[in-house]
């Protein structure tokens, strides 16, 4: 019995670890969708943030600088996306895809140039983000497993979800962002400079993708590999759709995807085919979207 409890505890733990980067990206996706900037470049943004945070840490061994660079990368890339979509009237789909492809190319290229490898870079002497061991809990068998191996940023992600809720739903600035996303024309008719709000809001929220990137390359493991973002940027778009851009809903939807990813991971030792297991998160994305849209359509009918 004890084994299975430990087993569940470790599933819980990996759910948390898969969930937090996704949560951060989903929060950013939430701001983008509320501000009516259709951003599908999250994936590329995440990949570049992870890379540059790792690179900074590799050369400077200064974790604060690394996180800072990660956040700046997230903001810069998101700014570029927003600028192209909002100011230059680019087709959002093309802009986003271009950024995603560019990120893949750039990181692969730099990986080759700097580290002379096409696959994985890691350095055992490198330190990642500070892990938090809650005193008193870490030695308790089950709880210790459940909350083990989590970094400052993992915990901070949860705090950010609440902070984002307060900003978006309780402050004047959040109110304006939500309004102008609903009807940009109406907002500008009242003299609000819509593009400026859109660009600033999305750019700032890009810093959360930066944090997510740090979690990927400097989190539970300290390494960078090609395509480390592994479609999390796209899953975040789905997660954001499930929660209608609500920051607290993002907690639930990213937990769902975190759990299914963890499930795929722990079932690796079972008899199920590897390829099938890797489908679980994506199949659950489709299923969840179907269920939610169905429920929503029904609600609307009423």
């Amino acid at each position: 019995m004890n084994i299975s409890v430990n087993y569940l505890a470790s599933v819980f733990n990996s759910t948390l670890r898969y969930m937090t980067p996704l949560l951060l990206v989903t929060l950013c996706a939430g701001v983008c969708s509320k501000a009516r900037v259709f951003n599908i470049g999250l994936e590329g943004t995440l990949l570049m943030s992870a890379f540059f945070a790792f690179l900074t840490q590799y050369f400077t061994r200064n974790i604060f600088l690394a996180v800072f660079v990660g956040m700046i990368t997230g903001m810069v890339v998101t700014f570029v996306i927003a600028f192209f979509i909002v100011k230059l009237n680019g087709e959002p789909m093309i802009v986003g895809m271009a950024i995603n492809k560019f990120a893949q190319g750039l990181t692969t290229f730099l990986l080759q140039m700097i580290f002379h490898t096409k696959g994985t870079v890691s350095d055992t002497s490198m330190k990642g983000l500070t892990k938090i061991a809650i005193p008193g809990i870490k030695d308790i068998p089950v709880l210790g497993t459940m909350f083990g191996n989590l970094t400052v940023v993992d915990y901070f992600a949860f705090v950010l979800a609440i902070v984002m809720f307060i900003i978006m739903y309780r402050t004047v600035i959040g109110f304006r962002i939500r309004c102008l996303g609903i009807n940009p024309e109406a907002a500008s008719s009242l003299g609000v400079r819509v593009p400026r709000y859109q660009i600033i809001a999305t750019t700032l929220s890009g810093s959360m993708i930066g944090l997510a990137g740090c979690l990927l390359s400097l989190g539970s493991v300290t390494m960078f590999m090609q395509n480390i973002s592994a479609a999390r940027g796209y899953v975040a778009i789905a997660a954001n759709n499930l929660c209608f851009g609500h920051p607290l809903g993002a907690l639930a939807s990213s937990a769902l995807f975190g759990f299914t990813t963890a499930l795929a991971q722990v079932l690796q030792n079972s008899a199920l085919k590897q390829q099938l297991l890797q489908c679980i998160p994506y199949i659950s994305t489709i299923l969840a979207m179907m269920v939610f849209n169905f429920a929503n359509a029904k609600k609307k009918q009423k």
């Binding site: 402050t171 004047v172 109110f175 309004c179 609903i182 009807n183 109406a186 907002a187 009242l190 003299g191």
Partner: protein, 502 residues
Amino acid sequence: MTEKIFEIRHIDKLYGTLLANDDVSIHLNQGEILCLVGENGAGKSTIMKILYGLEAPTDGEIFVKGQKVHFHTPSDAMARGIGMVQQHFMLFENMSVAENIVFKNEISKGLFMDRKQTVQTVRKLSEKYGLKIDPEAKIEDCPVGLRQRVEILKILYQSAEIIIFDEPSAVLTPLEVESLLETIKSLAASGKSIVLITHKLQEVMTVADRIYVMRAGKVVAERLRGETDTDELAYLMVGHHPALREVPAAKPGKILLETKKLSLHREGRDILKDIDLHVDAGEVVGIAGVSGNGQTELEMCLTGLQRPTGGQVFLQGEEVTNAGVKAHRDSGMAYISEDRYLWGSAGEATLSENVLMAKENRPEFNSNNFLKQKAIKAYTKRLIERFSVKANDTEQKIRELSGGNAQKLITAREIMMDTPVLICCEPTRGIDIGAMEFIHDRILEKRENGCGVLLVSSELNEIMTLSDRIYVLFEGKITGEFKRGAVDEKTLGVLMLGGRHD
């Protein structure tokens, strides 16, 4: 009373080569209700958009309270106390009424919204001006009349002294119009100065203190209400006296369109209940009713856009109840829809593309699935000329046309379908007298050719003038049927509102 609160001097506005405003000079006195009347495209909206900072004038000056001003954006105008209720509402759908009103001037505690105070302030404001609303209701749940009220409150919240209404009654039901006119009067009584843009002359005669008539970009007349009447205003607007229409009696032939016990049951309600109607060859049949009593659903059932839950529809003796739109059209039905942009046309498509719609398979325009561009253009040109649509080119977007001209083109397309049955819904909503007469002529012409026309309209005048037979629709049921001349406006009005005919 005679203090000029704003004055516009010699404004010209050029759009390309089109002179939309030609040396326009108007002023507004403190506390008065000023009406700007004119046909569509006469330049009345343009001049007000210039005043509100939405458009820049090509030439001329604007003075507000004696000071010369240059407005670049609506917020500049707003800062000088000028607000405008536009035709298309500028609201945030899933936000509350109160939130919509305070947007941009939020009531806050530091960084945070003060929700209680917001609701209270809005409630006070609504009580002060007698504009009843529920501050906490969501906009998406508000009917059009209420939304307009929110727009007005929004402007009042920003303490505007001059309020411009741009054709405010175009989207309202008759009852809502009445309450709007009351509102306008009481706003003026409380010291606000009002500009009302309209082409509905009854409204003008109800509320105006002073009237400017515009035609082709120029101010052609200025009148006090007491010294004019609707006939003179109509004359000034169109430049000729609209002839009182005498429509010769119809010679009905065989039944073309018929419904038997047509019903539509939705969400536990009877939207349509046992509708029995028929339209014969050579007659115009009117459906009178206050909008929202099942007209939209009736036309959708008749045209195949909606499947009825009971009863049958026959077109030229053939049952088409569940056959779908294409089958309806193929069996000889054309349809001028209620909403010219939602159903009637594709705004971003060109005039010739819009004209081609539903004719794309006809051999004169289609050769082995390739479109015959030349033939289509030539045909569009013919239609534009025959229906006197004001357009620059067959390849411009239909959205660029004024409402009346777009409607003329859609009417042209449907009439040229040359079908035995024509269904027209609100064919003249929101368009000017000239275009309206023109469309009426075409409808009657259609009748003379032995076709059956079903006319759905919330304009009682239109129904009474054109119809050889009138059905009254109330809450999804037919509550009366009359031959031409057998009923007066009052009786119809009573039936439309659910009263009984005795």
